[in-house]
């Protein structure tokens, strides 16, 4: 098995709230949109983020843990601290609860926001090799 992640699927209790946040709030264009079932976005080269309605999901995968903060985060990496602050402002305007960015022990700068279904996104600038690996060449530099 090669190291390959093709889709990240978040099992959501409220798919309509997810649509309001990601589509209406952030302006993301869906790749697939089946109301009441699934909403998908292209979030990278050969990478899709899928929001799967919990009722549909449990039929296929069985019960999942609910409530609290899920034991995972998604990170959105950027080329500068300024861009981090700007994206956190975007998320706040779209209705997310935001924890402001701060300098981190590992040398970067990041903050978090929580999406309407409780999933945590880290918005980060990681200088050095990780940034070269993760941030597209077109991004505003530091």
């Amino acid at each position: 098995m090669d190291p390959r992640v093709s889709l990240v699927t978040l099992v959501v209790a409220d798919l309509e709230a997810a649509r309001r946040f990601y589509v209406a709030g952030l302006g993301w264009e869906p790749l697939v949109d089946v109301p009441g079932e699934v909403l998908m976005f292209r979030t990278g080269e050969r990478l899709v983020l899928s929001l799967w309605d919990e009722r549909a999901a449990v039929e296929e995968i069985g019960p999942v843990v609910r409530g609290g903060t899920p034991p995972m985060t998604l990170a959105h990496n950027l080329g500068s601290r300024r861009a981090v602050d700007r994206v956190l402002d975007d998320a706040a305007r779209a209705g997310a609860e935001v924890r402001s960015a701060t300098a981190r022990d590992w040398g970067g700068y990041s903050g978090y926001f929580t999406d309407p279904n409780g999933f945590l996104w880290e918005v980060a600038h990681a200088p050095g090799e990780l940034s070269e690996l993760l941030v597209p060449p077109g991004d505003e530099p530091a």
Copy 2:
């Protein structure tokens, strides 16, 4: 905010078990390996999968829900049904609990395995557009 996922971070209660499974079992080469803290793999173009020790994680993000199946899955997409069966066999040999692949309502073929920290991976062949979007050209065709 552009639709971009740079890292997927799984908060794990047992980082050593994760290392045994992903590194020793599946043969993945770490991008970053800090025992007791974090283990990272490159899992796509501008995409990293990070396994973050729970003790380190809760200091930064606060408590997370434990036990049961987390409300998310990772998918590993492949170019053929044969390849799906083969990868599920790989995962079983590496020690994962496997649910054999089956034809799905959405037209594809997929099975699941559970990693040592309870995270579900779907191993899938999705014919058509989704496959063209997700599966690298070098993959064995259907």
